[in-house]
Subunit: 206 residues, 2 copies
């Protein structure tokens, strides 16, 4: 039965609004300072209601993170799977990142928090187990695409994983800067800058 019952629709709506609220509050206060009380108020429900849909705070944050990152991964996949030259591919990947984080400013901070887990060693470990694969996956996919370009002789041979790290974090910094700007730069300008840097560097050639 593919049709959703009224109850299912209501449930999904609740879950989505609580997750949205979670993102906004974490974006505002930071991971550790985001309280269940404030998330509940933001979502327009009572604190207890959240516990009807999520076992505890940890599960709420994990599920919220998963929902959002899955969406990002899907968008990047589209860009990465296209069988095109490395230059338009890098452009497409950078554009996907800029678009996504532009549309989901709130998510960005949750994303950074998850990459730098807190608390007792055991919890850090669990959070890393859950988040690191998503991140490494993203880096690894780019690294694979770069490796293939190296084999094809499009780009010179270097450590593909470190190159991917460099590209992703470098552009993350530019995204961060862009998000802080009042009048964000045009997408294309930053995409051009990043792509140009990666491919040709900055040395003047005479």
């Amino acid at each position: 039965m593919p049709l959703k019952s009224k109850e299912e629709v209501v449930q999904e709506f609740r879950i989505a609004s609580i997750q949205d609220a979670t993102m906004r509050v974490i974006a505002r206060k930071g991971m550790a300072a985001a309280t269940m009380q404030e998330i509940a108020e933001e979502a327009g429900v009572a604190k207890g209601t959240i516990y009807l849909y999520f076992r505890d705070r940890e599960e709420l944050v994990e599920k919220t993170f998963q929902t959002a990152i899955t969406q990002l991964m899907n968008e990047i996949d589209v860009a990465i799977e296209q069988d095109i030259a490395i230059e338009p591919k890098i452009r497409a990947i950078m554009k996907a990142h800029l678009d996504f984080f532009g549309r989901n400013r709130e998510f960005f901070r949750l994303y950074l928090s998850m990459r730098m887990p807190e608390g007792p060693a055991e919890r850090q470990h669990r959070q890393t187990q859950q988040c690191q694969p998503q991140y490494r996956n993203r880096v690894q996919r780019l690294a694979d695409a770069l490796s293939r370009a190296m084999e094809r002789g499009e780009i010179r041979t270097v450590n593909a994983y470190k190159l991917a790290l460099f590209i992703i974090e470098g552009s993350t910094a530019i995204i961060l800067e862009r998000l802080a700007e009042d009048a964000p730069t045009q997408d294309e300008t930053d995409v051009d800058l990043i792509t140009g840097l990666i491919l040709d560097g900055v040395r003047e050639r005479r």
Copy 2:
């Protein structure tokens, strides 16, 4: 009177060991999860003792951050002020970063935490006021060096600030990766990789 009295020496030693302990605990548990109790135990003093040297937790963390970042800035200044071509300059700056974070692994996490402040808006603002200048300063100095190289025609003209951001965050990612490795890569390898990327990109030229 340049000579330090016995009391001053003891005081400075206490302050230094408490700050060292603070760095280690934050490195282990993260900014928000680092408790005064654990910092005190790590430093081998009672919790109350910390309050003889620091007004509150906030001041402790701020002062600890300042002490460490000042040292980093000094080491980078040496590299940046040298009047040499842009290539050896970038090499020297990258090397200074790698050296510093290699010697002060603990500091790295405190550094990242300070860049992404938590809590109520007002506290975030204060932390940003206190930390952002240090960071922007570092980026700006690199941007200035790059601007000068652009004027001299050594490198092509792009947005110097964004280029500096890209370089610093990209290499930060590589440092992070290196710190996680069991057998860290040789310094020179990463410095070569980063410098090569920035100057010449990765496109194969035939």
